[in-house]
């Protein structure tokens, strides 16, 4: 029960940080930070994978409602939840995951988290920016945005991961 409340808390905090702070701070067209995917990334390892899909969709939909971009983040959140299953498999540690251990830097190490986060962030950002531009014509511009924004997102995600999720 407490575990569930903790994830509801993460959901709300990350949603509000995303929509009220990150989406309002506009540095440049190249710099977009998306922290909301941290919620989907760190769902417990034993989360039902269908439930994870729905939670990814729900998170994206909520971001869409604040941004008037119906469908964009919903589809991206869904994709992250889908890709997560495979990313977790690929990066599985030697002795596997433990059900009651949160997917975090503290439990599985910084290197593991970095690999996992970068994979998910790159896929998510590529999806979002290709979608937004809806064309391959400006592919260099889009890729530049993906690279710069991925770095920004990685920094913000690490920050919030350590702030919110590292305490016991």
């Amino acid at each position: 029960m407490i575990e569930k409340l903790k994830y509801i808390f993460y959901f709300i905090v990350l949603l509000l940080v995303q929509t009220l702070i990150l989406d309002q701070v506009c540095v440049s067209v190249y710099v977009n930070a998306f922290v909301y995917i941290l919620f989907i990334m760190t769902l417990p390892i034993d989360t039902n994978k269908y439930l994870a899909l729905l939670l990814g969709l729900l998170m994206g939909l909520c971001v869409d409602l604040f941004n008037s971009t119906l469908g964009l983040h919903a589809s991206a959140g869904l994709l992250v939840a889908f890709v997560r299953t495979f990313a977790l498999d690929i990066y599985s540690p030697h002795d596997g995951y433990e059900n009651n251990k949160q997917l975090s830097v503290r439990n599985y190490g910084f290197g593991w988290f970095l690999k996992y986060a970068i994979t998910i962030i790159l896929i998510h950002h590529l999806w979002i920016f290709l979608f937004e531009s809806m064309t391959f014509a400006n592919i260099l511009f889009t890729l530049a945005k993906v690279c710069v924004s991925s770095l920004t997102s990685l920094a913000v995600i690490l920050l919030f991961h350590l702030l919110l999720m590292s305490r016991k």
Binding site: V29, T69, L70, G71, L72, L78
Partner: protein
């Protein structure tokens, strides 16, 4: 049949993912900026209210700057009023343009499809497809409205088209945005024989009935002539700073119905 069932069971996860993804894509592509369901935008009751509360907190920090800016604008308006009084130009009667003030509660500028949410909606007289101007010039067009909030499609949105002209000689064309620089938009359709100079002012043309004529938009930053079509492509430095936009005015054109009716009549005669 059995095979089909086996298939569905085996790939249920993948099938669910694809179905939900298709649903998202349908939502995304069917969303016309002017006909969105209001609950699906930031103008809906819940997200609108949250954004408004938050904007209230943030605004405290810039209150004195904002006051200063408002004072300046007030003084400027007084001067213009005085100029009007002295001149003998007949002021438009009851039917003309009306301005609806609104505060910005949320805005994005680093997206390809940017939006601005303001705290005035249908109850304040907002309607979709009204022009919106700010302290320095044109901001955008109202795209969707709820009772208390409205979403504005700013100039810096790929679907925004605004009819503008060169202030000096009246040659007109349309203004659009290429998705890169928040301060620069593209003014096209100006014929190659026109004399364009860097620094020339660009204002609204007043043809579309969305904006009054002569609202400042920006100035010519650079231009290029396309030799094959003999038309200019002009980069316009926008007056409105979308990074720092606190309040706006929506423009209500009280003659819009009549203009539309007469347009329709002409169309029919043809």
């Amino acid at each position: 049949m059995r095979n089909l069932l086996d298939f569905v069971v085996k790939y249920a996860y993948f099938i669910l993912f694809i179905l939900l993804e298709v649903l998202c894509l349908v939502l995304f592509f069917s969303a016309n900026p002017y006909q969105r369901y209001e609950f699906a935008t930031s103008a809906n009751v819940v997200t609108g209210a949250i954004a408004e509360k938050w904007a209230g907190v943030v605004q405290y920090m810039s209150l004195s700057d904002e006051n200063e800016a408002l004072k300046k604008e007030n003084a400027d308006l007084r001067n213009r009023l005085e100029a009007y009084r002295r001149s003998s130009i007949p002021v438009l009667g009851k039917k003309g343009f009306e301005y609806i003030p609104a505060s910005v509660i949320s805005a994005t500028t680093n997206r390809e499809k940017n939006s601005i949410t303001v705290n005035a909606g249908r109850n304040a007289g907002m309607e979709s497809e009204m022009g919106v101007i700010g302290r320095d010039g044109v901001v955008g067009i109202v795209s969707s409205v709820s009772d208390k909030y409205a979403v504005i499609m700013p100039i810096i949105h790929p679907d925004a088209r605004i009819s503008v002209k060169l202030a000096e000689n009246g040659y007109f064309g349309s203004l659009s945005w290429n998705g890169r620089d928040v301060r620069v938009a593209t003014f096209s359709e100006v014929p190659g024989y026109v004399d364009v100079r860097i620094g020339d002012e660009i204002v609204t043309s007043g043809f579309s009935a969305i904006f009054p004529e002569g609202i400042p938009v920006g100035y010519v930053k650079s231009f290029e002539k396309d030799l094959s079509t003999d038309f200019y492509t002009i980069d316009v430095e926008l007056y409105t700073d979308f990074h720092n936009i606190k309040y706006v005015y929506a423009v209500r054109n009280n003659n819009k119905e009549e203009i539309k009716a007469s347009d329709d009549k002409t169309q029919k005669k043809k």
